[in-house]
Each structure stands twice: as structure tokens, then as C-alpha cells.
Symmetry: D2
Subunit: 254 residues, 4 copies
């Protein structure tokens, strides 16, 4: 099926140069390796490649969740793919899930959740910061996922009106202050997953969950990337030393 | 909504004692902490708890992907949650995805994929080993996910008839021998993800992918679990040192 | 130089079977792979091998610090080689060093320190627990290193009489209560290194050091072992997930 | 004992600003935080502090091995403290050790070895590259450790005249080509430790050692640093993802 205006395309040059754009008449991709006019792309197939104005090859690919970050305007600290993937998995998010997200950040987690809940699911993205909400909404719009998200300007610690969530994700500095409110909104047996940079936040969050949740676990993901080249195979010398801890638990009747 | 016969329930006692069962009249859960008759569970809500015959509390929970392993009869080495979550994420599996899985193992990855593709998606689980296929099918049946899976007895290295897969997952010892066949079955631009225990397998796989795939990456996930208790917070002394490497790439026109 | 009675020899069968013994007339090494009479060893060279009574090859080697643990009767939790090596390095222990050790444990750290300080150095091993001191002394005796150690039964938190230490190592549960006493005993500019299992201990220790020490750092060592075999190369599936954190600082005039 | 001309002093401002200098009349330390005249330092005690011309506090400390890198002019890739500490420990280097070092690099490992062998020990630092040898010698001179080192311009793969080494450290790209020569120079039972960036080098090295060495192990050290601050405690976001693998073995009669 040939690429048409309105399609989302990943322009892939190399690991550092990956750009998701919505194709439109007169559109243009500008990079330090040259530009590509969208009109050269229209009518081609995903998987084909074109050349930039500087003669550098650009692969036309279908955007995957792993590319979402690359298409976002970052308003704040983001949650990395290594963490988002485990968060979404632990939360069991899938087709039809109704998910509460407290703290939208840049919208990266929101986008992955929206991708996973499908047409019949819904993400309630709650934040007190209007600017963040707007930026996140723009980012979701750009990915074509905005219609699966309800953006709610509100302090998640004071609760939301919506009930019966299948899962809740918290990315706020003090989740222990939101535990009761989130608890009330979750279906019985459903998971809460919180993302936290410091050990002290983890301790407070876990302590606040003790009576209301079971199967409480704290995880940290370390991701190593490997380089396979003619000189041999070895781990990349660059590695993210720390992003945050992931706290998991399931709502019970106390 | 009260628990009824036919429902799948996670009986959760502690992190080591978690059992997924299909509730049926006359059913019984037996554990070293005592037993629970299913009839005591029928009519209760998810999130409530019951006592075993030995007076130990059992929480009734909704099974999540993270519990799938606990409900499986293991035929072989399994792929761990830390890896499955990243594999599914990299592959971009979601509602409606058509996924090729070469090498079913115990069916753990199959189950997570089936969970994510939803009602409209489909997993083609291909294996040369009839016994493994049957065990995997039984495991999927137990989880209520079997109808989303087509089990195919075949050597994936010789190709499959089906075409236009949105993603392909390989868990076989020599993926480099299946690269061409998998390539032919994938949609243009779609991802291949392989799971491999040794560095040597990684090298051969990556080398065999060079002309046919781009955005090739090799990852390894190290998962740390933390203990929060009255004595303080620290990483668990137990940690899985290694499971395997994850190789990722996206199909292009060469 | 042939092995003689009184020599210390490492009997090495495989990574799990390594035994340091002092050779003596009539001595015998007993293992589940058979026994070896010391008289078969006397007169041989280090680097040669003998057979056990069951025909298993035993290499006769010179004991290195990495073997010290294998020759110890363990009274308590030990500090692992991965940590001991960094602790000794950070402390700058070498020929002639005068080292204060608060908390002897099994004597493993004591032994490595004694090995490094040489004939002209001295380790002051301080503990409140007489039993631990005696066991540590026996372990050091067995390694031929006891004469470099002064064992002191005392609460290190209440200070020691000795002054002008080149370095201090603390392996007690509450080093923050010993900081002032240790500070008084150290030479100006000299390092304190503490080993601590939990994050909370680290926080208290670092906080208590702030005015009296500079260049304060907290480290954690993760050691991976690799398996190279015909099936390929990969990290060992077994790995120690956590032992403890290492806190470092250097005494200053406040 | 007051600081005098000829003494080595660590000028410590913060973790990134640490400078080892030999104090001399008219000497000066220049930094982006201002300068310090050595004459202000002479007569003071280690552990005291002075102010730079810009009013920034500088602690006067005794240089430890962990500072050696900071005082070196780097000619090439260096081996990090996390690796040097384990290498020296595995090699059992101490007072009186006679150590063969094949491949001097910048002289960092040479310096730590020289520090540990004491007055009665000796390091034979062998390299084919005269420039590297000269730079390493200058670096050792600056640390006051040069007289414990014999610098030898030679290809270590072709062997050295000296015999009966207590330990050998290899930091060359192809240690498998030096195994036989190093084997001949080592005492029976003594350790060889090699440092290698890629898995492929590890495989070749281990394979070449199989008949001549026992207790062969391959290690990799991952070092995490932690930040303790008012915002809480967490691992540093910066971490070195990979430096190299450490191969260990002990010479036997084949």
C-alpha cells in the first residue's frame, strides 16, 4: 500500500537520526544530512528508501512505539523505552483497557498506553500542569493517538471522577499522597505501577501501599546495548546509569 | 462482578505462591499452605481474599501477563518477563497485530503476544517439535488465549505460507538460518526480534540481517529487584545473571 | 623450590573445590572427589598436580587473596572478593600501611589487608564480639598472616588508643556512630571506607561524614562472570544480586 | 609532618577537579577555579585546606592509587580504577612481588602495581611502542614510583629474558599470541591476568590458555556510583557501560 498524505512515516537515517512525520503535500524533512521533500515519498512503499539532498540514504519505515520519543517535543524529563516497556507489561495494558495515568510528563508513556489500549480502550491522562497537558496532547496528535486519550487537568492526588480503571500508572513526585485516590478509582485486583527516581520515594510509596495492595514489588531495569562490528562484539561504552525505580502492586480489599 | 465457573483467577499467597486456575464446580487449589475449594471462591469478587484449610490468606486476583509463567507447565527453558516485555514492546505488538513466532518453547511468549493482539489479531506459533506445540497449546488454552493462536508444525527456517506479518519473534538456536524465510513473510518495514543466549549466536544473527534489515540493535536486560523492609532498603541478593540477548531489526528493500 | 611441611598450598580441583591447607607430616585433604595425603605433595613443585584416591586431578597452587575465603571457617556474613578488592584499593593499603579495621566478621577483609600491608605494616582488627575475634584470628593463623594483625576486643564506636592510621575500614551496622572515633584515629588526609548492605545505612553514614571528610563517594560493584564453552560465550546465569555499598571519604580538618 | 618541597600532594577541589603535583619552590597549580602558589602550601599539613586566587577551597591530601589517573598525561585508552583494583587483587600483587606487565598504555596499571609491590618488588613494564614507554615512565616519575619499574622496549609476544615472575598482567590486543612467552616467564602456579575489550578476544585468549593454565575465569566489573543529596538517594545517571573483560588463570605443568 503506497504512502499517502496523512500517513505517519519514520524517516530512518541512522540510530541518532530518526524522525516521525505526518506526510503532507509540500511537507519537507530537514536534517543535517540534507532534506527530503514529502512529495518524493508519496506513492512509495514502507520499506523503500529515498536519498536526501546530500545523497544520504533514508529508509521509510512504519513508526513503532520505540520511535515515539523521537517524534516528541520534550517538555520535561522522559521515561525511557526500557522502563515504559516494563511498566506497560506489568500493568497488563491491552485492547480495551481503561487506564489512569497520573502525571503525563511529555506524553511518552501516554502514547505507549494509547497504542496498546486500541480503538476500544481509553487512557485518562491527568496532570495539574496545563502546559504539560497541552504539549502531551500535541505529541499524541502527531502520533495519531490523541483520540484514545482523555486529557484531564486535575491534581490526581485529589482523585478523579472516573472509576473502574483496569490499571493505573503514576509518574508524580509523591505517589504516596495519591495512593488513596488511585485506590478508589481502580477495579479490585487491578495493578498500580509507579515510576520513581529515588530510593526514598520508593520507600514512602511502598509503605503507603502496604494495606491496600498485595504482590508489591520494586524493580529497576538496566539496559545494555551491544556493538557487533568487525573489531568484535562488546557492550556499548555508553549506558544510562539510572532513570528510576518501578513499583508495582495490586488492589485488594484491605 | 462476582467470580463464576469458567473464570480465570489468580490465587495469590506470596511472591512464590501464585496460581492461575480456571474456576469450576468441585475444583480445588492445593498448596503447601493448605487447600482452597473453588466453591468458596464462586460468588466472591476479585480483590477479596479467602483462607486456605491451614488458615493462610489467599488473595483472589485477575491474572496479568506477569502471572502467565506461574500457570504454565514448563516443557523447556522459558523466556523471562524482563525479556518478554521488551520483546513485545520492540515488536510493537498491539490490537490487530498479525505476529509470526518461530520457536514456541513453553508458550510463554506466545501467551503474551496473544494477550496483546486482542480479538482481531493473530499469532502464528511455528515449531518443528510437536510435543512443544501441544504443551504450548495446552498452556494457552488454560489462559483462555488459545483461540488467538494458530499452531503450525513446521520448520520456520523453511518458511511459512502466511504472508504480511506485522512482526516476527524468533526463539530458535540458529535464527540466521531462518532470516531469509522470515524476511519473506514480513511486511516491508516490520520488525524482527530474536532472543539468543550466547554472544556467538548474536554475531551470526546480526551479520545475516545486515542487508535485509536496518535499525539493527542488540540489547540485554538486567532486572534488579529491591527489598523494602524495616531493616532498610536494598537490592535483592538474588538476581538472574543472564538469560539472553535481544536482537532487533526492521525489514527493508535491500 | 619443592613443597615442604609448613607450606601453605592451594589444592585446586575445580572452581567449587579449592582448599588451602598447611602441609604437615601425616596431613590429609579429604574431598567428595577422594583424598590426598600430604606426603604425596611434599617434595613436589607448586604447579604440579597429583591424583586423589578416586583418580581426580588436583593442582597444587600458591594461595592468592582470591582463595582466602575458601580456607576460612565462616562465622558470619562475609565480604566478597568483588568488594574486598575495591575496598583495599580505595583505602590505598600497601607495604607498611597501618590500618584500622572496625568489625572483623570472618576475617576475610582482615586477611586481605594483612596480605597487602606486608611485613612492616599492621592491621588493628577491632571487634566487640570475642567469638568473632577468635575465629578471625584462627583464620588468619591458618593463612600465616596472623602476626601482621593486632586483634583488639573493643567497641570501635568508643574509639581505640592507637593513632595515626593510614586507612580505616568499617564493617559494622552503624558506622555513623563510629565516625568521630575513627576520625580521631586517622592521619589527616587518610581514607575511611565503610561497607554497608542498605541504602539507609549509606545515607546516615554519608551524612555523618559531611563535615569531617571530603571526596565522599558511594559505590556498588556488580560482578559478572562469563562462560566460554563450545556452545558459545555468555554471562553466567548465576550472579550475586547485591552484597553492599562501599562508602569512601578522606579526613580533613573541618 | 608539614608539607615540604618534593612532596606529592593531591589538590582536591571537587570530584572533577583533583590534581596531583610535586611541590616545589615557585610552583603553581592553575585551575579554572583559580590558582594556588605552592609556597602557600609548604609548611601546611596534609588535611588542611587553602584558598585559590578565586576564593575556592582546595583540600591538601595524600595521593592514593585512586588519584593516579588524575595525575597522568594520557597517551592512550586507560584502564579504569574499577578494573585495575580487581586486576591487582586477582594477581595477588603485594610487597616484594615481581610482576610482568605486557602493554603499558598510559602507565596507570603500572603505577598501581608499582605502588603495591613496595620497595622490594619490581614491575617489568614491556611495550613495543617507545613513545608509550616514555610517557608511562614520565607518569611514574611524577608519582615517585619510577624506581620500582623496569621499562623494557620489546614485543612481549616474543618473550622477555627475565624469569620467575609472581604475576603477569597483559593489556595487548592479542594476548593469545603472548601466552606461550608469558607462560615461560611465570613461576609455576602464578597468575596471568589479561584485560580485553571484546568478547572475541576473550574467547581466543581463554582457548589459548586451556592447557597451560587452570582456574580460568572471565569477569566483568560494573561499577555504579550513588548520589546522596537532599532530594534523596539514587544511582548516578552516568555510568560507564563497558570498559573490558578480565581473564584470569594460573600456570600449571601441562
Amino acid at each position: 500500500m503506497p504512502i499517502r498524505p496523512g500517513d505517519r512515516v519514520l524517516f530512518y537515517i541512522d540510530p541518532k537520526r530518526r524522525f516521525v512525520q505526518v506526510i503532507r503535500e509540500g511537507g519537507i524533512l530537514g536534517t543535517d544530512k540534507g532534506f527530503v521533500r514529502h512529495e518524493e515519498v508519496i506513492g512509495r512503499e514502507i520499506g523503500e528508501s529515498v536519498m536526501t539532498s546530500k545523497g544520504v540514504r533514508v529508509h521509510l519505515l512504519r513508526p513503532l512505539p520505540v520511535d515515539f520519543l523521537a517524534s516528541m517535543k520534550r517538555a520535561t524529563q522522559v521515561i525511557y523505552p526500557k522502563d515504559v516497556s516494563l511498566i506497560a507489561y506489568l500493568a497488563g495494558v491491552t485492547e480495551g483497557s481503561k487506564v489512569l495515568e497520573g502525571g503525563v510528563g511529555t506524553g511518552h508513556v501516554t502514547a505507549v498506553l494509547a497504542y496498546l489500549v486500541g480503538e476500544s480502550g481509553k487512557v485518562y491522562a491527568v496532570d495539574i500542569d496545563e502546559t504539560k497537558l497541552r504539549k502531551a496532547a500535541e505529541n499524541l496528535e502527531r502520533l495519531g493517538l490523541a483520540k484514545r486519550v482523555v486529557f484531564v487537568k486535575r491534581d490526581v492526588r485529589e482523585g478523579v471522577d472516573e472509576r473502574d480503571f483496569d490499571a493505573s500508572i503514576l509518574d508524580i513526585p509523591d505517589p504516596w499522597n495519591a495512593i488513596k485516590a488511585v485506590y478508589d478509582s481502580l477495579k479490585l485486583g487491578s495493578p498500580l505501577v509507579a515510576f520513581l527516581p529515588t530510593v526514598n520515594q520508593v520507600e514512602k510509596t511502598v509503605t503507603s501501599m502496604r494495606e491496600l495492595f498485595v504482590d508489591i514489588h520494586v524493580y529497576e531495569v538496566l539496559l545494555r546495548e551491544y556493538i557487533v562490528s568487525e573489531e568484535g562484539t562488546r557492550p556499548s561504552p555508553r549506558m544510562t546509569g539510572h532513570t528510576g525505580y518501578i513499583v508495582f502492586g495490586r488492589k485488594i480489599l484491605p
